[in-house]
């Protein structure tokens, strides 16, 4: 059973049960939940709450773990809030094998460092990429699109007759 002092907050979001645990004690909490029957990590990801005025957030990055108990058919979302540059949290790849690639992906796209991960390298972006694309302060980018009102600026002049 997970100790009550590990749970700082809990609730239900549109039917999904969730709890919040302190980030430094995340491994302890997840190990207890695994003992409790939540043996499968469905996915792990991060949400960047930069400039989100809908609520008071404890920190900028929310790392969340969706756990599943395949016997009792119940899901539980575990949240941990981390700040800092880079934000750091413990790796759980040895508790839940699917976390291995998910942690690499979260490091790649959000820059969250998972302490204790055997091979924390970029997985989706090229190795020499600069920045972490899914952070909210990372621009979407793109090519400028020329519209017809700016026609003169890009249309090649017709050849001289």
């Amino acid at each position: 059973m997970i100790a009550d002092q590990l749970i700082t907050d809990k609730g239900n979001s549109a039917g999904d049960e969730w709890i919040t645990v302190p980030a430094p004690r995340l491994r302890e909490a997840l190990a207890a939940l695994k003992e409790d029957g939540y043996r499968l990590l469905v996915f792990l990801t991060c949400v960047d709450h930069l400039a989100d005025s809908s609520r008071e957030w404890p920190a900028r990055f929310e790392v969340l773990y969706e756990l599943r108990d395949m016997e009792k058919l119940r899901d539980l979302r575990v949240r941990a809030f981390v700040d800092g540059d880079p934000p750091q949290i413990d790796s759980v790849h040895d508790l839940f094998p699917p976390a291995n690639w998910d942690e690499r992906e979260t490091y790649d796209l959000f820059g969250v460092v998972f302490n204790g991960h055997p091979e924390l390298t970029r997985i989706l972006m090229p190795d020499d990429w600069v920045g972490h694309p899914l952070r909210r302060d990372y621009p979407v980018g793109g090519e400028p699109v020329e519209f017809s009102e700016e026609h003169e600026t890009w249309q090649t002049p017709p050849p001289e007759a």
């Binding site: 549109a14 043996r39 005025s53 790849h93 094998p97 899914l134």
Partner: protein, 410 residues
């Protein structure tokens, strides 16, 4: 060796000079990303001892398109087009995951007719996805003719997609709040004919493969995935059912009215590539069964939720009602907003659990959309399955894992 040890990852590339069991040096080779049998652009770094695979390290990301980032820049109703394009072999099923997630956060439920149409499109997609898998896997293992038969039937499914949504592949048919349009009589004609013929066609594929000695030699006993390992690595779909575990989200966590249909969960205890093949064949037969029931009991009624804040008013109302004009204007300039909160919805695609996690900050654009893709998770089990097999068997194992690289890289 404990299960944890068997699945502990972190593969290192061989140091030169390391020796294999036969005294020779281990050879490190590149498999892909442009190899035709890697189902797209999967690159594997493979260590070989003679012809035996000793280590496999998948390198992914060649098809990364930043779909999750793009969706943060699109409004809720525009995001549907992105969900079509990550797992490009099963667009309506991905639409469904996203639509169900948005609907759960908004607290709306779609009418019964829309739910049934969603089931029809999901099952047609499952069939077409399995047909592509069967055809391409056949080619990879030397059964050239299967592809022709499979794509013949897939084309009629594409015709049905075109009839119901106007698009053959990326249909965007299932949307938050309902479906795009009602099915036409011609759609039901095509579907009826298809359902009448399909069981015979599945027999045809089985005639070509099930007792085929070459197919059996290439798949039986190859790529074993023990049930306990399958659970631990998070495998889903035909990968876990091929290991004898009856885990199907349509049965264990029903969505969109799947609890009302009578079908069996296809499982097989073989744990190998042949078992996964048999599971998919059985699933195609079950899909036909579900489709027949869905067509028989298709309820009448609306196909969208009756909520003008979420879906545009009908065209004729715009000419008489000021309120309809306002709703129309607001929806197409700003879109609707979704209450703050987050939700995860999982659906069973042809490959396993494809889920959609959305987090909203109460605005008209998502704060975060994350796709949990079955291919991404199943691919992590590749090394466990390929160890000590021949390099040619690696092709069979990648084939029956049925990864779609667009889904892996998103």
């Amino acid at each position: 060796m404990s299960i944890e040890d068997m699945t502990g990852q972190g593969v290192t590339i061989t140091q030169t000079g390391e020796h294999g069991a036969f005294g020779g040096e281990l050879l490190t080779i590149n498999f892909g990303p442009h190899h035709p049998s890697t189902h797209g652009v999967l690159r594997l770094i493979v260590d070989l001892d003679g012809e035996q695979v000793k280590r496999v390290k998948p390198i992914i990301g060649y098809l990364h398109t930043g779909i999750e980032k793009q969706m943060e820049a699109l409004r809720w109703q525009q995001g549907v087009v992105c969900t079509d394009r990550h797992d490009y072999l099963s667009p309506p099923i991905n639409n469904l995951a996203y639509a169900l997630a948005v609907e759960r956060l908004m607290g709306v439920e779609v009418p019964p007719r829309a739910q049934a149409l969603r089931v029809i499109m999901s099952e047609l997609t499952r069939l077409s996805s399995h047909l592509v898998w069967l055809g391409t896997s056949g080619i990879e293992l030397g059964a050239m003719s299967v592809l022709m038969y499979c794509f013949r039937e897939r084309d009629t499914i594409m015709d049905m997609n075109e009839e119901i949504s106007g698009f053959r592949m990326h249909t965007s048919y299932i949307r938050p709040g309902g479906v795009m349009a009602d099915a036409t009589p011609r759609f039901f004609d095509l579907l009826g004919k298809f359902l009448h013929e399909m069981p015979g066609h599945i027999d045809e594929y089985e005639d070509l493969l099930t007792m085929n000695p070459i197919w059996r030699a290439r798949t039986i006993g190859i790529g074993r995935l023990a049930p306990e390992v399958a659970k631990v690595v998070g495998a889903s779909g035909p990968m876990i059912r091929g290991s004898g575990i009856a885990w199907d989200l349509r049965k264990v966590m029903p969505y969109s009215g799947y609890e009302n249909y009578d079908f069996e969960v296809a499982t097989n205890d073989g744990c190998d590539c042949y078992a996964r093949y048999l599971v998919r064949i059985k699933e195609m037969r079950e899909a036909v069964k579900i489709l027949e029931q869905a067509v028989d009991r298709l309820p009448d009624g609306p196909i969208n939720v009756d909520d003008r804040k979420m879906l545009p008013p009908p065209r004729e109302e715009l000419e008489t009602s000021m309120e309809a004009v306002i709703h129309h204007f607001k929806l197409f300039t700003e879109g609707y907003s979704v209450p703050p909160g987050d939700v995860y919805v999982a659906v069973e695609s042809g490959r396993g659990e494809n889920g959609c996690y959305i987090s909203s900050d109460g605005t008209h654009k998502p704060r975060r959309v994350k796709f949990r893709s079955a291919s991404f998770v199943n691919l992590q089990a590749l090394e466990r399955m390929a160890l000590d097999h021949m390099v040619a068997d690696l092709v069979a194992i990648i084939g029956t894992a049925d990864t779609v690289l667009g889904d892996v890289d998103r």
